[in-house]
Symmetry: C2
Subunit: 237 residues, 2 copies
């Protein structure tokens, strides 16, 4: 017999959140963080145990990640972590340059004062992160920076009023992050990224569309080139 009609608030999931959606998020993180090696086969039986869930939500989660490009589904041969390649990194970088700069132009055309505020706030949070906190682990530190960084880039284009475009850009950004974290772990700040972010934000809130779009393109391209170098080295080692 089961009594509990009274729900346990602490274990109750927030509205709209399902096991599958939580799983998708967790798996996406594991992949972008590089904890799941590119190309690895994802054995459902293992994942089932690891995450303590059944097949249904697991498949649903993987199914979504497949659409986002983080995992690859092959016919009757299961799922595997999306492989990495120079060509793919090149494509992701170029597409980010094109689409994010386009989104930025749209945002500059449509954005209101609240949007401007969001950019300034996100920039502040990003650049005021404690340089090196002793209490936190290296991974936690990176995670925090990554989260703020993502937020900043999203804030820039959030006013473009194009949901599909935002979704595309977000996915591309996540894919890009993965490469950066996989191949640029040692030197995350080899150039003055802070200054670049400031310049982009300035040009944006002052509505200098051409300048802002150009700075953003360069920003994305530089990161791409850097990662590409590391990837090539890594590959030829």
């Amino acid at each position: 017999m089961t009594i509990s009609t009274g729900k346990d608030p602490s274990s109750t999931q927030a509205s709209g959140v399902t096991l599958a959606s939580t799983l998708a998020q967790r798996l996406r993180e594991q992949i972008t963080e590089g904890r799941l090696t590119p190309g690895t086969k994802l054995h459902l039986e293992d994942l089932k145990e690891t995450f303590g869930v059944s097949l249904s939500p697991l498949r649903e989660a993987l199914s979504r990640l497949s659409g986002e490009g983080f995992v690859v589904l092959q016919g009757q041969r299961g799922y595997s972590v999306a492989p990495v390649s120079e060509a793919n990194l090149r494509e992701v970088t170029i597409l980010r340059m094109e689409m994010e700069s386009f989104a930025l132009r749209q945002a500059i055309a449509c954005g209101d004062r609240q949007w401007e505020g969001g950019i300034v706030a996100a920039l502040h949070r990003l650049n005021s992160l404690p340089p090196t906190t002793i209490s936190k682990s290296r991974t936690e530190e990176i995670d925090e920076w990554e989260a703020e960084h993502r937020q900043f880039h999203l804030a820039l284009i959030s006013a473009c009023q194009m949901p599909l475009l935002l979704q595309f850009c977000t996915t591309l950004h996540d894919l890009s992050d993965r490469y950066r974290r996989l191949f640029l772990e040692k030197n995350p700040t080899d150039r003055d990224v802070q200054e670049e972010h400031i310049a982009i934000a300035n040009a944006t809130v002052t509505r200098q569309a051409d300048k802002a779009a150009d700075l953003l393109r360069q920003h994305i391209e530089r990161t791409g080139t850097n990662v590409l170098k590391s990837l090539a080295e890594n590959h030829s080692k």
Copy 2:
């Protein structure tokens, strides 16, 4: 007891094809063809019966379509056919203009002779479709034209060497098709689309990147505007 170790070749699915993938295709067709009304709630129990399958493959199929934008998933409230709106059509049109023309430029830069041949062949197949066949139903006729049309547009950009971009463009094209079929059923050839296709193909195979990209943009924009008109009328009726 079950004897059949010997598999029935006629009922055996081709390699890599699963029930889920077949279902996704069927559902996508039903949605783009307008047989499933936009915004309709998709009751899993009903779909289960309609397609004669169980929940697992059904969910997996819907999950994929959700990533492609054909269905919408809301938390614990199930799936529904993606709604249509003026704003969404506008976005799809603009994104197609941007991304397809960009892809075309890349293809023109990378494409070889085989690619050129593919374009010419696709154009021929598209324009040599029997104008009005008596043996076929109206729907079959449209389906055939749509298929060739899709093939032609894909052939144009197929040499861009960017899988992700191709995927985006394909999805956007499908979404666009849906609007056209939903709101432009009466007059599918109100302008000289044939000529437009010929002009685009010519500029492309002669490697006139600027001209080709521009013609393609106009082509997409015209369609968008036409559908938008019908949609607005339909909405205010």
